[in-house]
Homo-oligomer: 121 residues x 2
């Protein structure tokens, strides 16, 4: 994969996007076609509207989504992934694959208890 010579930190710009709370789940909803503010808010409950707005604005600023206002009664807004946004899918796919292969291997809270009481080690 060749990240060896050149790029400490090359990959960080994406992490600045992905690594805030709710962002992964938000992108998941967008990938699945949930595009309206209220709908996203309900599905991500109990996210606060401020946080949801912050995330959407960041995605918009980074041009991973577009925001379209439809006037009318009631007015509504749709958020759509751009090509760059859709291009994130392989990253999610890789995470998903990793989770399939190794996720069960991750230590859970329950394991710690076991270890402390000597049940496992």
């Amino acid at each position: 994969m060749e990240m060896d010579q050149s790029c400490p930190g090359t990959v960080e710009p994406i992490l600045e996007i992905l690594d805030s709370k709710w962002m992964i789940l938000l992108l998941y909803e967008l990938f699945n076609g949930n595009r309206r503010f209220g709908e996203l808010r309900r599905r991500l409950h109990p996210i606060s509207p401020k946080t949801l707005t912050d995330r959407l604005r960041l995605l918009e600023e980074k041009r991973l989504i577009t925001r379209t206002l439809y006037p009318g009664v009631p007015l509504h807004v749709e958020y759509d992934l751009t090509v760059a946004g859709q291009g994130l899918q392989p990253i999610f796919a890789a995470m998903w694959t990793w989770t399939q292969e190794y996720g069960a291997y991750l230590r859970k809270e329950s394991d710690k208890a076991e270890e402390e009481t000597g049940t496992v080690m």
Copy 2:
């Protein structure tokens, strides 16, 4: 990639690992064979020893690295990626690919200034 039916949040456990400050760069160093505390500390300067310890302990707890103490003078410690840790590489690769394809498209700070002054839009 099929994350459609089943898995809102399936992928989050990884993010809990990747999304703290320094973690990406730390894993980068580990992938490249830098394994000792002092070495990591120097390469990630100005990381604080507390934060470096926190990150290493998290990776250890999640069983993505092992910690081996070598007694002697001076004593030293080595951190090595487990198979599960090495298995993260495709995720980094996907991020790297995305960055190649779309990274230049990400809005930078400088672009904002342009937009505000009307140079671009």
